[in-house]
Symmetry: D2
Subunit: 130 residues, 4 copies
């Protein structure tokens, strides 16, 4: 089902005073995984932006299952599909030590070209056939 | 409807290479607003943690409406209700210049006492009558 | 001596697993204070960047004196002088409850115009007479 | 000269509106490298903290040489020596594509045991003979 995965290790500065990874940091993990996935498919988030094309998050849902702690290794997996004009990323984070699910997310993105909503973009559309 | 609000101003380091506030940073704004709301009602997130009581986010949904930019001033408003054992925070961020909605969020939190799920906590329960 | 100051309050997400503000976060406080100081003097870091002018940090020294904790209120003060082609920001953070020094910093910045080192920039030079 | 090194890749969320890695983020890289170095030598920053032992940064000096950008791979190298009661980390970040120096840092750390300054700690002292 998943078409891409990226390995990570928790960094201590990502943990908060509860001693676990702060909730907002998971969004960083998710974003970095999406961008690396795009790069692997020859789509650069940064270059697109310089050409006036921005893939932006319209909506995100995250279910926190098991907290990550200092030193934990984990993998972030994803697959993408299209719903209307939205490119929807389905992302799950698994703790490596026991394969437990830490977080499940659904990330709806849309394409803006020169700031206007676009129905699609060739480079992103190509991903639908991966 | 809203029972609490907190003023903010975008800090440049919160913006990413698209020139807008990074998506994950909104979660920081939301969390800080919740914690300030709790403090105003004499509940300290930090002190509770030291007593073995952790209010943790189980699920979050965020709809991104209008991006915040360098220098923007905004207000984050909230109200809370209870659904089963969950304390649900409804939070909306408004840009001050034109009162436009930037983000709408629903944050489901649960209480862990010594790491175990609890149906309620007196200090949080008291908030339901505010 | 100081020509500008800005008030802050610690946000819980800025604290790490030691229960104190993470060292890197102080640089965020310092940067935000410098940018607000510039804005107050009609210099926008963001607009300058869009015109190809970037004020960049070449060197920073920070002495950590007293750690900030959850909920602490503090003030970040600064003054600027020029040493050769460098605009040097002298910044000190004071805890509000007892006026104790939390951090002392010296931040050397230089101006890049279209990526090349410049001896000065009119808008920044004007600050030297403030 | 260097006794430890760790590989990294820039993540887009670490870049700011200038399109380069934000200055404060380098401190995250440096801290993570120090903690991984300690772990490799069987010293856990997190476990030490739980035992009342905190290695804290007293002073940091950083010289920014070449900015890192979206997608850059880099390596952070370090060696440690002792000056008085301070454990001093010397850290340099090199861009992998051309081995150019991005940042040079000197990080003075001291040990607090139950909040009081200590002259040394056996686990850290052992590193001096590595």
């Amino acid at each position: 089902m998943f078409t891409y995965e990226l390995d990570f290790k928790v960094r201590d500065y990502e943990c908060d005073l509860q001693g676990i990874v702060n909730n907002s940091v998971y969004q960083n993990y998710l974003e970095h995984t999406r961008h690396e996935y795009l790069l692997e498919n020859n789509v650069s988030f940064d270059l697109l932006h310089q050409q006036g094309v921005d893939a932006v998050v319209a909506r995100i849902e995250m279910a926190y299952k098991t907290p990550l702690k200092s030193g934990d290794e984990f993998v972030c997996k994803l697959y993408v599909n299209k719903e209307g004009i939205k490119y929807v990323f389905h992302q799950t984070i698994f703790r490596k030590s026991d394969n437990k699910i830490c977080l499940k997310a659904k990330v709806d993105t849309v394409v803006l070209i020169d700031g206007k909503l676009a129905a699609s973009h060739p480079q992103l559309e190509a991903l639908m056939n991966v």
